[in-house]
């Protein structure tokens, strides 16, 4: 209370300052007038009386100043004084100021950017009402987010913990609003989706569970605000309009509010379509297949008063019911809750781990910057010891001097923080408008909010006190008498000073950053040169879904065969193959398989889980996948022929023991049908670059048709001419079919995206760390040389050799560098384990990385000590000794 009062009083005095000054002035004048009145009465003239009165009053300005101080305006006013003085000091040494501000701006900017991304992707909940009670459901110990539709229905109807459970799925469709077929990314959602989330329409209406009356019963579309804006120019008349979706008529019901962009943080769909229309949307209907766990993600609000633990118990009891009732389809059914929006922990966990790691590294950068500035400040305080000593001798309290130093530190860090924040806002904005992948609606929706600003401000203030506090002890122990007498406190002793410690810490941090960025870069380079199981060079990809143009049933393979044949006739094309989903592409399909002897086909008895691809016979040739044994598929492997498959080496060795004797053996598919293995191909990468070898099956497209088609066109021809030829060929076949043409290397961007991003961000942090180290070592070396000029001069005069001189001048910085680097390298190796989950083959136990780090650190040391060394060598003892 008292503190508050005094604060209020002080703030009030600050604002009423001019008024108080005027009053004070008037009061003092009144005093002089009264005195003059008395003197006048004693016989003086008025003018003489006033003159005498003024003299008797004494130092008008001084008393006014003292009065003002006594009246309590001092804190704020002396603060203003401090700031003015600090600004003057900073302006006097622009080099120091610039280095300090830039160092901090870089460090705080890096922190703000990383925090901005962390905040946007991890900390901020989805933009729905009551987001804190919204949970996603994951299944099993591997925390799969995908559920089958029948399972979802059981979960929805049997649970007692959720207000309402909704499910959604990402898919691509062809949309034609009138002679302009184009493909769109959409969310297929259950009818209760909007109601379960509590979203209200911006325009028109949403669909509801009551609209779901069996397959294809709800041909409705709800547009996102962004898509409405970009494709319909915010035309309010779109509500009720019929458009063609995959050649089926769908009615636009309404538009969602602008702030609601679906339930995935990083994918912005164009519109929402009811899941019951799956057959029209995806060309297949798996809504009755309990064993088919596409990628249906389930989420819902917990009922009020239900804890997550209670909800999990509830879900698990449904799970054991499902296990008992559907032993063929439902294996081990346990559930857990997860934060929705990041496709559960599948993406959420590595992302969280990576961003947390990045935040930690950014924090280290800031710490290094503080260490850097701390030693700069300490050096500066030592250089200013004369000035400080004079001020102490003239009666300035040590408190006041410390406050002055802190004011300087805070000022620098606020300026640095502001510059850094500005930079981070610019780069975050760049990130948020960036669409990293041309093939997927991927967004990084990072809009810096108040959190980011507060964090930047806090970091600035904290760092100010960290580095500003470094010289505090030094100042408090300054003995003005000693300083003024001997000229300088520059004691260069053998003992370890706080500055040395700071430098070691800083170098260690830098070495950590350099190590981890090198590990990441090496991992990326390796993953680029590893075997994908296909050869992406010299191939073009034509991606389409025949369902988008209304093909279904038997017309699908017929049309696909026609496309392959037509593309084959383009001059320069070597081979054309078809695959339903590309390896390393969003939405890989997996299935469980059994050995031929298994009769009880429960999921628990499965021999393996394998990736599954439906391909045309020429696919291996077109993709450049090597056939190791047996034969490839042919066009005779059709519906009338026995079922066959080509498997990869991993599958062969896992199911049959070895790759060589697998040919002509049988395995059982999930539905129990026996499938003969006719060929073995090399292993490849299927779901991600970082995965271990996985079993994979390739089925003939005629035996298991798929409307999704990616045509792989291998040719040595010019890509541009080829693109044009492919375009006209496909359009000649069916003008209404939306498709995209890209090179395979472009397509791979999406698979490489995570490791690219990881490498890029680590690389940036590594460079920042290196920069900070250079300035840190440089500062230290330069300071030590300049402090020991005299000593070095004497040594030189006494006949010291260049080598000895350098050893004397720079031995210490180098020792610190070696010590710090070793510590950092060790820590970096430990920290790199986290990296291994994101960057393929990121291992710190790599001689190249070790050598690289050592080389980089020595280079840094050389670079940083070059100038001070030159300076030490160019000492002319005669001049030096004469001067001092």
């Amino acid at each position: 209370m008292k503190l508050f009062d005094s604060l209020r009083f002080r703030i009030a005095t600050l604002f009423q300052r001019s008024q108080i000054n005027a009053e004070m002035e008037e009061e003092l004048r009144s005093h002089v007038q009264h005195r003059a009145d008395d003197l006048e009465r004693s016989g003086l003239t008025r003018a003489e009386a006033e003159r005498r009165a003024r003299i008797e009053f004494g130092g008008h300005v001084r008393y006014k100043e003292e009065s003002r101080e006594a009246a309590g305006g001092t804190l704020v006013e002396s603060l203003v004084q401090d700031v003015r003085f600090a600004l003057r000091m900073l302006r006097k040494s622009p080099g120091f100021t610039a280095v300090a501000v830039v160092t901090l701006a870089v460090a705080i900017g890096a922190n703000a950017v990383v925090f901005g991304v962390l905040d946007a992707l991890i900390l901020r909940p989805l933009n729905v009402p009551q987001a804190q009670s919204l949970y996603g459901i994951e299944r099993g110990s591997d925390q799969a987010v995908n559920q089958s539709y029948p399972d979802y229905l059981d979960l929805r109807d049997r649970n007692r913990s959720f207000d309402s459970l909704a499910a959604y799925n990402v898919t691509g469709v062809g949309l034609d609003t009138g002679n302009n077929p184009s493909s769109s990314w959409i969310l297929e959602v259950t009818g209760n989706y909007f109601d379960a989330l509590g979203i209200q329409p911006y325009l028109g209406r949403f669909f509801h569970s009551s609209d779901e009356q069996g397959p294809n019963s709800a041909p409705y579309i709800v547009l996102t605000y962004a898509f409405w804006h970009s494709h319909f120019q915010e035309d309010r008349g779109v509500v009720g309009r019929t458009v063609e979706l995959n050649r089926h008529p769908f009615t636009i019901l309404g538009v969602a509010p602008p702030e609601f962009r679906g339930t995935l943080v990083f994918i912005f769909p164009d519109f929402w379509v009811p899941l019951v229309n799956q057959e029209q949307v995806e060309g297949v209907n798996v809504l009755n297949a309990r064993g088919n766990r596409g990628i249906l993600m389930v989420l819902g609000h917990l009922k009020a008063g239900v804890t997550p633990a209670q909800a999990v118990a509830d879900l698990n009891s449904i799970g054991s019911y499902l296990e008992k009732t559907y032993p063929k389809d439902d294996g081990h059914m346990t559930f857990s809750l997860t934060r929705p929006g990041l496709t559960g922990d599948w993406l959420g966990r590595p992302l969280r781990a990576f961003l947390t790691g990045l935040m930690l590294l950014a924090g280290l950068i800031l710490l290094a910057a503080c260490a850097n500035l701390g030693s700069l400040f300490a050096a500066r305080a030592a250089d200013r010891s004369q000035e400080l000593a004079v001020r102490l001798a003239l009666g300035a309290g040590p408190k006041r001097i410390l406050r002055q130093l802190f004011t300087e530190a805070v000022l620098i860090s606020l300026i640095g923080g502001a510059v850094g924040l500005w930079g981070s806002v610019v780069s975050l904005h760049g990130l948020s408008v960036w669409e990293p992948l041309p093939t997927a609606p991927l967004h990084i929706p990072v809009h810096p909010d108040a959190n980011v600003y507060v964090v930047a401000l806090l970091l600035s203030l904290v760092s100010a006190f960290v580095f500003g506090g470094v010289p505090a002890k030094q100042v408090l122990h300054t003995d003005p008498y000693q300083v003024i007498k001997s000229g300088s406190t520059g004691t260069v002793g053998r003992r370890i000073t706080i500055r040395d410690l700071l430098l070691v810490v800083q170098i260690a941090i830098c070495a950590v950053l350099v190590t981890s960025s090198m590990v990441a870069v090496r991992g990326l380079v390796r993953s680029l040169h590893s075997s994908f199981g296909f050869e992406p060079r010299n191939t073009m990809l034509v991606q389409t879904a025949l369902s988008m143009a209304g093909y279904s049933g038997d017309t699908v393979p017929t049309m696909q065969k026609r496309m392959i044949d037509a593309l084959q006739t383009i001059p320069g094309v070597k081979s054309v193959g078809l695959v339903d989903r590309l390896p390393l592409y969003y939405g890989a399909n997996g299935t469980i398989v059994f050995t031929d002897k298994t009769t009880d086909l429960r999921p628990a008895n499965a021999a393996a889980e394998a990736m599954i691809y439906n391909i045309s016979p020429e696919y291996f040739a077109a993709a450049g996948t090597t056939l190791l044994a047996g034969r490839a598929l042919t066009w005779h492997d059709d519906k009338n022929a026995p079922r066959v498959a080509v498997v990869n080496r991993e599958f062969a060795s896992k199911i049959f023991g070895s790759a060589t004797n697998a040919v002509d053996k049988y395995y059982k598919a999930q539905d129990g049908s026996r499938i003969q293995v006719v060929g073995i191909v090399e292993d490849g990468k299927y779901a991600s670059l970082a995965e271990d070898p996985q079993p994979a099956i390739f089925l003939p497209v005629l035996q298991s048709p798929s409307s999704l088609a990616c045509l792989v066109v291998r040719s040595n021809g010019d890509p541009q001419q080829l693109t044009a030829a492919i375009k006209s060929t496909v359009q000649n076949l069916d003008a209404a079919l939306p498709f995209t043409i890209r090179t395979w290397n472009q397509e791979l961007e999406s698979a490489l995206f995570p490791s690219r991003m990881a490498t890029l961000s680590l690389g940036v942090l590594g460079v920042l760390g290196a920069m900070l180290s250079i300035t840190g070592i440089f500062g230290m070396a330069a300071y030590s040389v300049s402090k020991r000029m005299k000593e070095l001069g004497i040594r030189m005069a006494l006949g010291a050799q260049r080598r000895e001189l350098l050893q004397a001048a720079l031995g210490r910085p180098f020792k610190l560098l070696a010590f710090g680097s070793a510590a950092g390298l060790l820590l970096g190796i430990l920290a790199s384990r986290v990296l291994a989950s994101i960057v393929y083959q990121a291992t710190p136990r790599d001689p190249l990385v070790l050598v690289g780090v050592v080389l980089a650190m020595s280079l840094l040391g050389l670079l940083a000590t070059w100038i001070p060394a030159q300076r030490a060598l160019s000492i002319d003892p005669m001049i030096l000794l004469r001067e001092q």
């Binding site: 009053e23 004070m24 008037e26 009061e27 003092l28 009144s30 005093h31 007038q33 009264h34 005195r35 009145d37 008797e56 009053f57 004494g58 130092g59 008008h60 001084r62 008393y63 006014k64 003292e66 009065s67 003002r68 101080e69 006594a70 009246a71 309590g72």
Partner: protein, 113 residues
């Protein structure tokens, strides 16, 4: 002027409180009153009075208010607050103790020790 005594540090506040305790005064009036009650024996530079006045106001011992002086001039008058009255009593007692102690110390003859 040379027969005037220098003020001991800290005693000006006490004198101001005492002066004002006899009735509200403006700054110059305080000076005159101190001169009057001390028999003009103390040397106070006129301006030095004001930091003291402001300090006492800030401590809540004096209450200022603008008014018109006997010379028909605008002036700021000070009067004692309850806290000021209490402080004056305490400080007076302190001062008396101090004076007694110092005086007895100074009056001691060598044979009395």
């Amino acid at each position: 002027m040379t027969d005037q005594a220098q003020l001991l540090p800290g005693t000006l506040d006490l004198l101001i409180l005492r002066a004002v305790s006899l009735g509200p005064l403006h700054g110059y009036g305080v000076l005159l009153r101190i001169g009057q009650i001390s028999g003009n024996a103390l040397l106070i530079e006129q301006g030095a009075l004001y930091p003291g006045l402001f300090r006492l106001v800030r401590q809540g011992l004096l209450k200022p208010s603008w008014g018109t002086s006997e010379n028909n001039r605008r002036a700021k008058f000070y009067e004692l607050t309850a806290a000021g009255r209490k402080r004056l009593r305490e400080e007076t007692a302190n001062w008396n103790r101090l004076v007694t102690a110092i005086a007895s110390a100074l009056s001691v003859q060598s044979e009395e020790v």
